[in-house]
Amino acid sequence: MKINCLLHKQQRLIVDIQAEFALGQGITAVYGPSGAGKTTMLRCIAGLEPSMQGSVQFAAMPENDDRHIGLVFQQSALFPHLSVQANLDFALTLAPVKKFSIQQVSQWFAIGPLLARNPRSLSGGEQQRVALARALLNNPRLLLLDEPVSALDSHSRYQILKQLKRISREYQLPMLLVSHSLHELASVSEYLLHIVEGKLQAQGPMIEQLTRLNRQGRSNGFSLLRGTVTDHEPDFAMLHLHCEGQSLACKSDGANISVGELWQTMVDANHVSIATEAPSVSSIVNTLQGVIGSITPISESTVRVELVIGEQTLLADISRWSSQRLQLEINQPVWAQFKLS
């Protein structure tokens, strides 16, 4: 995908973004602080900013500029004069080709019982689920998601994001997800565009960008590990990965993944413990060997240890007391342990 958008409003530069990246299947993350121009960039891509200079191109976009790019806002924007069912019908009728059915999307977003209701009688989370279902029914070539789950509680937020990731992969529907939460983005996305003050500051694979942001102290303490799938155990909803010559297990999140694919998993820094000797058998699933790259105090009681595991890094937040007791130092070989995540 090639984006080249320049937009001024009242002589003030709003965005000036040139980016080129593979849209592929899956979710591309757009990260940046509030007011950085993320939403404006999406509006430019969707063709909603007539005064934009530049162009937007991607493989599935036809010549005649009938973009048909879906957009879901932070607030649902469901049509208040129509029932939920009529909102869905509205989108389905306008779809150039009907790819999804109302039944299908109702099941994905658990909105079956809401169909007869008026949008205004729904909770914020219910409205967002209907809005996502509506956007999919319209069968867009590209789906733009502008903080679609920010107004939701943390549990349903990640559930919906995982559902979107699954749909994106299974139906080859590329999505651009905007958020100011790196944690949300890293949980579903493999490529990141970093927007600051209306400009593209950096772009690249999520793991690399996350390591960069972690080193700037910008993330909230989590890392990503990437590996090749060696085994899928649907009974345990679990995947085994080959990661930097070691084995790693993670949750499969119900996704349909086959052996040999690349997969990434997110590990919260305060879920990781460090041992200076090879640990014996325990209920903790994962043990990875690495060396200490850096030790940074992050509060009076806690230090953040960056472990280098082959080409990748893993963060561990441990107590300063433990760090002193184990006499941790740079380049020391250690074992990191964490539960299935």
Partner: protein
């Protein structure tokens, strides 16, 4: 009620309905254009549309009378086209009413369109619904209450019109003699009984109409920004 009063009532209703209908056709695109417009002349245009709100009806009536006279270019054009002059005719008071009630159509629609949450239109556009279809499928139902208010106000305001009609229409029964003029006529000729009938009728009718309007507004469920 005398036969001439019934005639005046029918004429008044015809005038009010005709004015409301014409203003719906003119005022809707005008209000939409004003909401969309970024032009520096927009305040001037808005001021011109709002003029009838503050100008004495006689001022407007006077200029319309000049414009309608067969000596003026517009008056000549009209007579050539339709073979009848505008002054002292039903069509003349219809044109006058349309101009005089214009702000009552444009202003409610303007604020209705203005407060419509733009995201509904954005979403519809991304789904492939554009232009006139988007207007009728989304904007009209979402601003329904503004349309009802605008139509109601135009209708009521036209019924209440006096000065403009008097200036350009005179007092011709069945042609330009509307209720307010008929009432004036009764008072002039000291027919207080008939004057009472018309005055009370207009008073009660107006109260009922406005009460209905406010009632409808209270139940509104439209697409304004929450």
């Amino acid at each position: 009620m005398a036969e001439s009063d019934w005639l005046a009532l029918l004429l008044t209703l015809k005038l009010a309905l005709g004015t409301s209908f014409i203003l719906l056709l003119i005022g809707t695109p005008l209000a939409w254009f004003l909401v969309k417009s970024q032009s520096r002349f927009k305040p001037l245009l808005q001021a011109i549309i709002a003029l009838p709100l503050i100008l004495p009806p006689t001022v407007l009536g006077f200029y319309l009378l000049l414009a309608f006279s067969p000596q003026s270019a517009f008056g000549q054009f009209w007579v050539q086209q339709f073979g009848q002059q505008l002054a002292f005719s039903f069509n003349g008071i219809l044109v006058g009413s349309v101009i005089y009630s214009l702000p009552f159509m444009v202003q409610p629609l303007y604020s209705g369109f203005q407060s419509l949450d733009k995201r509904y239109l954005d979403v519809a556009q991304t789904m492939g619904l554009t232009g006139i279809r988007r207007f009728f499928k989304l904007v009209v139902p979402l601003t329904k209450s503004s349309f009802i208010t605008a139509l109601g106000l135009c209708f009521a305001h036209t019924i209440g019109e006096f000065g403009v009609v008097l200036m350009i229409g005179g007092n011709i029964p069945g042609e330009t003699q509307v209720l307010s003029i008929a009432l004036f006529d009764h008072v002039e000729s000291l027919q207080y009984q008939q004057a009472h009938q018309l005055a009370a009728g207009l008073l009660i009718g107006s109260v009922v109409l406005l009460a209905l309007l406010y009632r409808l507004q209270r139940d509104k469920t439209d697409g304004a920004v929450q």
